[in-house]
Amino acid sequence: MRSGFFVRKIKLIQRLICMNKIVEKYKLSENVCKFIVEAPMIAKSRKPGNFVILRVGDKGERIPLTIVDSDIEKGTITLIVQNVGASSRKLCQLGAGEFITDMVGPLGKATHIYKAGTILALGGGVGVAPLFPIVKAFKEAGNRVITILAARNKDLVILENEMRQWSDEVIVMTDDGSSGRKGLVTEGAEEVIKREKVDECVAIGPAIMMKFCALLTKKYDVPTQVSLNTIMVDGTGMCGACRVTVNGETKFTCIDGPEFNAHQIDFDELLQRMRAYKNEEDQARNKK
């Protein structure tokens, strides 16, 4: 029995060595970190739009993060996280060489990528990260892609160079005009829609931003997808914390989404549900 025990331990150690190791870490802005993580199987099987659920520490929370990119050869995936709460801070404190305790994926439905014509991609804040794989895939599928990156200020604009590589045109917009043009993402989007025919719009960012993008594109009748970052626990359909009303029906973001037709989403309910744990989150943030 002892030998079986040791073989198991060795197997376990081998697994730990090759799983979820952070191989590179970059700081994209004051509060946004980019990680390249070893996860060969996820790297191979993931598709644009998929996410992982990860956990840092034995009492860590399960947090969903979109897979930004992957490198099948190297067996790595790219994750981008904004330090907004206690759990994302724990992740951001990890450095290259350290391990993410648990990571599972790829989860969620993949984005429907096809040759649509002209795609208008709208990214707000750290929402630019989940937007990136979609922009890349639409470009690779032969679409004309116009990308608008919006942030509060210059320091918060992320992935600009990467987006330029995969977009026909990139428009940067900041609330204070410190980079690109001054104004909201919807203003830039409206100009593009008025200027040329847009076949499909993808908007990812804070829920309130997606709400107003949806209102705008509805006005111009442009089909629009959004990717939701609802509260989740297991991410596999088990708990229903991620419930969202789409076209009058309750859907689970984790298995029915995370992307939905923006014009059918009950954004007011979504905004309300995103605040469900606001008090607890505030307490956790201020605790340490």
């Binding site: 029995m1 199987m41 596999t236 359909g237 229903g240 969202v244």
Partner: protein
């Protein structure tokens, strides 16, 4: 006479059994009263989520209870057991004071005796079929308590015996999900000599035993010991792995897996689709229990939060509803209320759970059904509107159908609502298997005898087949699937690839 009954007979005629039987006249055995389980006082136990309510039997209590068993010629009790445990044998071993042997007997048939001894509905299974119950209208032998006693005795003795396994035959098989059906499947397959890997999507092994059943009913440490036994036997566990997503079935076949058992459970919570159900403060029992049991949200050092309520309503009358409502009490609720559309008599929860809940001050609002949830100014649930019901004619399940009493609507104040009205099969795994025959309820269709699906190398059992049942029925499925997969693989690979 089947092989199994022959075996029962042979065992019964063993010298020590005959001597033990003859050592006490049946008259004396019958005169003994059924043992009472020692329980922690309600006011004490509701202070802690992890304080187990039932304390188990002491050795002398167990031996006395075991001596009530008359070691019947035809032990009907075994007919009531979904995993066909040789019940008289282990009971008599307890009577004889051979407690460790009793544990070995249990493990021949069940991968999880300490679990079954706690959560099985024995009153509807083995104990229902007990001679005392059937023929004498007396309280049955407390088979469940005795099972738990033997398993606990072994665990606490530190002398855990690992069941014998056949030499490895080099054939790889996989179980998908790590709940009771998969664990039971894995336990049998490893005994037959296969290389067994169990794939689990979550970060903990155990499925519903970990995320669902609270620690006051089934401590995680008890589950962990049973898992450790399976590991010692050679079962490999892969956490954070969703078969069909992380790697496809074809990927796994390429890695050498010859057959699969899908025991992915019924982890998709049902809702009632009534207005206000998506308000903050309304959640599924799966979410509530997962946050507490799996993520330890009630502990101060956990990063996962859980919403707390002062006035908690739990919708439903099953075991999960009882688990949720009793959890809410332990998490500090002033009022914890079960809202159930039928009457107490029709409640599907175990009697013991209902009794424990009542002792703990849980309120039961029966014959009432939610029709709408109303929010406070901050958007959190504040009231539930209830339709009063009465019982009508019996329905397909044989229970009297609840019928709305027209116009009889009441409102009660709540700040947390937990919906525990059942679960549906989780579509995540079946969705990744093209060609798998599914029922219209989303369950996997299998041959009831062999548990084989429409794809020959895929077997299935537990809630993904049944759509929401019990731990022990899932375990029975796992055993049957293991036996028939064994036949299937031996047939297919007559010359195993060696060691």
């Amino acid at each position: 006479m089947t092989e199994y009954t022959e075996m029962l007979n042979r065992e019964r005629n063993a010298e020590w059994r005959v001597a033990l039987r003859n050592s006490v006249p049946n008259k004396e055995r019958i005169a003994i009263e059924r043992v009472k389980m020692t329980e922690v006082e309600p006011h004490e136990r509701i202070k802690s989520q992890t304080c187990e309510v039932n304390r188990g039997l002491k050795a002398e209590q167990a031996q006395r209870e075991a001596s009530r068993c008359m070691d019947c010629v035809t032990p009907t009790c075994v007919e009531g057991c979904p995993v066909s445990i040789n019940i008289p044998k282990f009971v008599k071993q307890i009577e004889a004071g051979k407690f460790l042997d009793a544990a070995v007997t249990l493990k021949e048939f069940s991968a999880l005796p300490a679990v079954c001894g706690r959560v099985c509905p024995q009153e509807k299974q083995c104990e229902l079929k007990c001679f005392y119950q059937q023929k004498m209208q007396k309280e049955p032998v407390a088979i469940g308590y005795l099972e738990r006693f033997a398993a606990d005795y072994e665990r606490l003795s530190g002398k855990i015996q690992i069941p014998k396994v056949e030499a490895r035959n080099g054939i790889k098989v996989a179980a998908i999900g790590s709940g009771p059906s998969s664990l039971s499947f894995a336990g049998d397959m490893i005994k037959f000599g296969y290389e067994v890997t169990v794939f689990e999507a979550l970060h903990e092994i155990g499925g519903v035993l970990k995320y669902g059943i609270p620690e006051f009913r089934l401590p995680n440490s008890v589950v962990d010991v049973e898992l450790e036994n399976l590991k010692e036997m050679g079962v490999t566990f892969e956490k954070n792995f969703v078969v069909g997503r992380t790697a496809s079935f074809d990927d796994l076949k390429e890695l050498g897996y010859k057959a699969f058992f899908v025991g992915s459970g019924a982890g998709l919570p049902n809702f009632m689709n009534i207005p206000g159900e998506n308000l903050n403060g309304v959640m599924s029992s799966n979410e509530y229990l997962t946050r507490v049991n799996l993520m330890y949200a009630n502990q101060s050092d956990s990063d996962t939060p859980v919403m707390l309520g002062k006035r908690v309503a739990v919708i439903g009358g099953g075991n999960t509803a009882m688990d949720a409502v009793r959890t809410s009490k332990r998490l500090g609720a002033e009022r914890s209320i079960i809202i159930y559309r039928r009457s107490l008599e029709e409640m599907p929860a175990r009697l013991e759970e209902i009794k424990h809940a009542q002792e703990e001050g849980i309120e039961f609002m029966n014959l009432a059904n939610p029709v709408e949830y109303l929010a406070d100014a901050g958007g959190r649930v504040a009231k539930v509107r209830l339709q009063r019901m009465k019982l009508g004619e019996p329905d397909a399940s044989g229970r009297r159908r609840p019928v709305a009493i027209e116009g009889d609507i009441v409102e009660i104040e709540v700040d947390l609502v937990i919906v525990a009205i059942g679960v549906s099969p989780n579509p995540l795994i079946p969705a990744s298997l093209a060609g798998l025959k599914m029922s219209r309820y989303g369950t996997i269709e299998v041959n009831e005898e062999t548990m084989q699906s429409s794809i020959p190398e895929i077997f299935a059992g537990g809630d993904i087949v049944r759509g929401g049942a019990t731990v022990i029925l899932a375990m029975g499925d796992g055993r049957r699937a293991a036996a028939s997969m064994h036949r299937y693989l031996q047939e297919k690979y007559k010359k195993p690839t060696g060691k």
